[in-house]
């Protein structure tokens, strides 16, 4: 019954991973709604996940709306308008580039006979574990008249900073999202339509443009959405690259002023922009979900010959070089230079412990919280469950600095002992990144035949036992994949950690940022390399394990 896609194309990653980001609210109509009402406890659990972020943000909104007119001056002036436009420009450029690169890489790896799809797939996904500010730091160190490139080759390359620098760092940080969903969608795409088009004489390019691309639209849209939201709320890369963006004003108002109202006003404005992007994506996506969830058979792989093959290798190679090799080389060079200068290089174990504990707890909590949301969304589909699912996605789209600020202001006033507690930080991580877990679990649950659960229920098991004994074991892999993604994202998280962490709590991301800020590059690089090594564990779960499981 629970048929795995037998004989599917060699997979770069499991459908769950693609589904992580790609099963947006309202998607997936494989099984029609049952008409049964969801049990109240399930609803209670589902609504509970909205509380940790929903209440503080609503409270901040109330504070902002009640603020004096003077507080609004920060919003309505020419400079703010200019910065909003600059942020919009950067977001547009990054999203476009990330989308093009993501689609092209996915198509080459999944649909051509280039070879080594697993290796290329891993190289395209690795940038996901590198924080955007590490990209920025390493590109700044590599370029310029006294940069690493000039040192090694004697050729002085110009500085990569400002708009081009921010664009490159953020494009590399975000294209893996598009790649991830597009590769997964390509593998599930029924090749019949494309073959029909080709049979009618259309060229490869024309088939891609008029048949494949429209079919991929929902998946690509979801990936591009993530790229856009990430870029909009990024602070580290833009500030290091000295590109004046909207987040910089928020930070300036937060860091340079005692009154937090102006920062809150600007934060709300950022939320409005993020929601606008979310809304625009949904409007243009429509409600269709074209592709088959079960590929009927293996799609044909295009033969790449001669020059085309060289171009493909050059393209993927350049992306891998910029996205993985350059940053890692710079980090290693910094460590070596530090050791040469006699600096004590030690692994910051307390930061490793903090990162791992925080990220694992966040991942586990997110997996638990994803269950009620996903079961409601798939098994009790209704307008209300769709709204719940959409709310989870909205929480994911909120800029971290905004969420952190809202929770901080709320916690200091109303939460007493939870203020500056690990519990609160982990709950915020888990709810901020919940959409990654629900996306993965949903993609899994959509492939589970509901008759299995109904059979268990007809044998007299209650809905809770069914969930525990039937549903969870069947979607375990999807849940785990979602948890792994939450882990990776939490490892990189900076603004919420800085504002909400318990006193004395350390993470690798904080270490990297703080050490680089004091010019201790060797220490920053050590922490960054450890972060990459630790991230390799869940990345392995995401990328390599699923293939073993399907084969």
């Amino acid at each position: 019954m629970n048929d795995r896609p037998g004989g599917a194309a060699p997979q770069v990653q499991s459908p769950e991973i693609g589904g992580v980001l790609e099963a947006p609210p309202g998607s997936g109509k494989r099984y029609e709604r049952t008409g049964r009402a969801a049990p109240p406890w399930l609803w209670a659990a589902g609504l509970l996940v909205l509380v940790p972020i929903g209440v503080p943000v609503a409270s901040m909104l109330a504070r902002v709306l009640g603020a004096s007119d003077g507080a609004w001056d920060v919003l309505f002036n020419a400079r703010t308008a200019e910065l909003v436009l600059r942020s919009a420009l950067l977001t547009l450029l990054v999203t476009t580039a990330a989308t093009v690169i993501g689609i092209a890489a996915a198509w080459i790896i999944v649909r051509t006979d280039l070879g080594a799809p697993r290796l290329w797939g891993v190289l395209m996904l690795l940038p996901l574990v590198i924080p955007s500010y590490v990209f920025a730091l390493s590109f700044l160190a590599a370029t310029g008249p006294r940069g690493l490139v000039a040192d090694l080759t004697g050729i002085a390359v110009p500085f990569l900073d400002g708009l081009p620098g921010a664009w490159l760092a953020l494009t590399l940080s975000t294209f893996p999202y598009v790649f991830l969903v597009t590769a997964a969608a390509l593998q599930r795409l029924d090749p019949a339509l494309e073959e029909a088009a080709r049979g009618l004489g259309a060229s490869t390019w024309r088939v891609f443009r008029t048949v494949t691309l429209p079919l991929l639209r929902p998946a690509v849209g979801a990936g591009a959405l993530l790229a856009a939201l990430y870029t909009l709320s990024d602070f580290g890369a833009v500030s290091l690259m000295r590109f004046d963006a909207f987040t910089r004003v928020i930070y300036a108002q937060y860091a340079g002023r005692l009154d937090r109202t102006p920062a809150a006003v600007l934060s709300i404005a950022l939320i409005v922009i993020a929601l606008g992007i979310l809304w625009a994506e949904q409007r243009t996506r429509g409600r269709a979900s074209h592709y088959s969830h079960r590929p009927i058979r293996r799609p044909t792989r295009h033969r790449l010959e001669g020059r085309r093959r060289a171009v493909a290798v050059l393209f993927l190679g350049t992306i891998a070089a910029l996205g993985v090799i350059v940053p890692v080389t710079v980090l290693v060079a910094w460590v070596v230079r530090g050791i040469d200068a006699g600096e004590q290089i030690a692994v910051p174990w307390n930061a490793v412990a903090g990162s791992v504990v925080g990220s694992v707890l966040a991942a586990v909590l997110a997996m638990a919280a994803a269950l009620p949301v996903v079961v409601l969304a798939v098994r009790y589909r209704s307008r209300r469950t769709e709204a719940l699912e959409r709310s989870v996605y909205v929480m994911f789209s909120l800029p971290h600095i905004t969420v952190a600020l809202a929770v901080l202001i709320f916690a200091v006033r109303y939460l007493g002992p939870l203020y500056q507690s690990l519990a609160l930080l982990v709950v915020i991580y888990a709810t901020m990144f919940l959409a990654q877990a629900t996306g993965a679990a949903k993609a899994s649950l959509l492939q589970v035949d509901p008759h299995l659960e109904e059979a268990a229920r007809s044998l007299g098991k209650g809905p809770f036992r069914v969930l525990r004994d039937v549903t969870i074991p069947l979607i375990w892999r999807g849940l785990l994949a979602g948890g792994a993604l939450v882990f990776l994202t939490t490892m990189k998280e900076l603004p919420a950690t800085l504002l909400l962490r318990p006193t004395g709590f350390e993470t690798l991301a904080v270490r990297i940022w703080a050490a680089a800020d004091e010019l201790f590059y060797a220490r920053a690089a050590t922490a960054a390399l450890v972060l990459l090594a630790v991230s390799a564990v869940p990345a392995y779960v995401l990328i390599v394990r699923p293939k073993d499981a399907t084969s």
Partner: protein, 332 residues
């Protein structure tokens, strides 16, 4: 399933172990000084006194705002800040208790709060960092006002969101008034002064050849030399007394109503001990403020730096105005 539960509980315990401070005397320090610089000193303090220190690291202004929001009964016992403006903010809000006389009088009066609510522990001079390969000392102006001239177009970096820069702006407001300060900021913006995220970014950029000069604190140049001895960055001290030649203390105060007053007092005393003062001189390249402790080699003596007539206790009153002016000049 049970194993998973045990694993998670164990992790949660480990997590609380990472953040809790254990048994015995504890003191919670809100530190605007960075962990990279201060953590080794705090470790020494813990070893010597047996007092556990829980430190919350963040920006100085940010922590001052946090202390005000937390109100009485908040977790902080000591506020250890980078700049007198943040300290003054907490003092003006009445959140500091008065320090014992011997602590307060340990440093020259100009580096401590007039009412004894906070005390400076190390000095940081505002300087111009410059690239020795392209700029010669004779070219550099006598005060920061010289950088508004057209031949410096695009050559002098600023860090408009940085706490030390804002404190410098606040000092300029106190010395010259709002209008003159805004005029200077606007001229710098019109002169295409490149802006950076912080002092460290400016010094790194000067070292990398990205910009020729920048207004920063004096010690970054020395830290850069630790990992890269071949640095081309040198410090220039303005020869005239101006906001740009200000020496600002990093300092500490004890929060009013703390239940750990003794431990907190011991901590602040330690910051003024010969050992800690020497640490500031040799490890962070700051000026020790307790008389008699030698400065790091290569630094001009504190007495040789021209001192503008600014009451550092008052910087806090101009902090929000400083942010306003920086924004108005278009530097944010």
């Amino acid at each position: 399933m049970r194993q998973v539960t045990v694993f998670i509980v164990a992790l949660a315990l480990l997590g609380s172990a990472c953040s809790d401070s254990g048994f015995g005397d504890t003191v919670t320090v809100y530190s605007g000084r960075s962990e990279e610089l201060i953590a080794p000193l705090i470790e020494r303090f813990e070893e010597q006194t047996g007092i556990d220190v829980a430190v919350r690291y963040a920006g100085s202004t940010e922590l001052a705002a946090t202390i005000l929001e937390e109100g009485a009964g908040g977790p902080a016992d000591v506020f250890f800040a980078q700049d007198p403006a943040s300290l003054g903010t907490v003092a003006l809000a009445g959140r500091f208790s008065e320090l014992p006389e011997d602590i307060h009088a340990a440093v020259p009066a100009r580096f401590a709060d007039a009412a004894g609510r906070w005390v400076g522990v190390s000095g940081r001079a505002r300087v111009v960092a410059y690239d020795t390969t392209v700029v010669s000392v004779d070219e550099l102006p006598a005060t920061e006002d010289g950088f508004t001239a057209s031949d410096w177009r695009g050559r002098t970096a600023l860090a408009p969101t940085n706490g030390s820069f804002l404190a410098f702006v606040a000092a300029k407001i106190l010395l010259e008034g709002e209008a003159a300060t805004l005029a200077w900021l606007t001229s710098m913006a019109d002169n295409d002064a490149p802006t950076y995220a912080g002092n460290s970014a400016i010094v790194a950029a000067v070292d990398d050849g990205q910009v020729e000069t920048g207004l920063v604190n004096h010690y970054y140049r020395y830290r850069l030399a630790v990992e890269g001895p071949d640095t081309v960055v040198e410090n220039y001290f303005f020869p005239e007394a101006t906001a740009g030649s200000l020496v600002m203390p990093a300092g500490a105060g004890i929060l009013a109503g703390t239940p750990h007053r003794d431990a907190a007092t011991t901590f602040v005393e330690y910051l003024l001990s010969p050992e800690a003062q020497e640490y500031f001189a040799t490890e962070t390249y700051e000026y020790p403020l307790v008389p008699g402790v030698p400065v790091a080699s290569g630094l001009p003596p504190l007495g040789s730096i021209p001192t503008p007539a600014v009451d550092l206790s008052l910087l806090a009153t101009e902090l929000d105005t400083a942010t306003d002016l920086v924004a108005e000049a278009g530097l944010l």
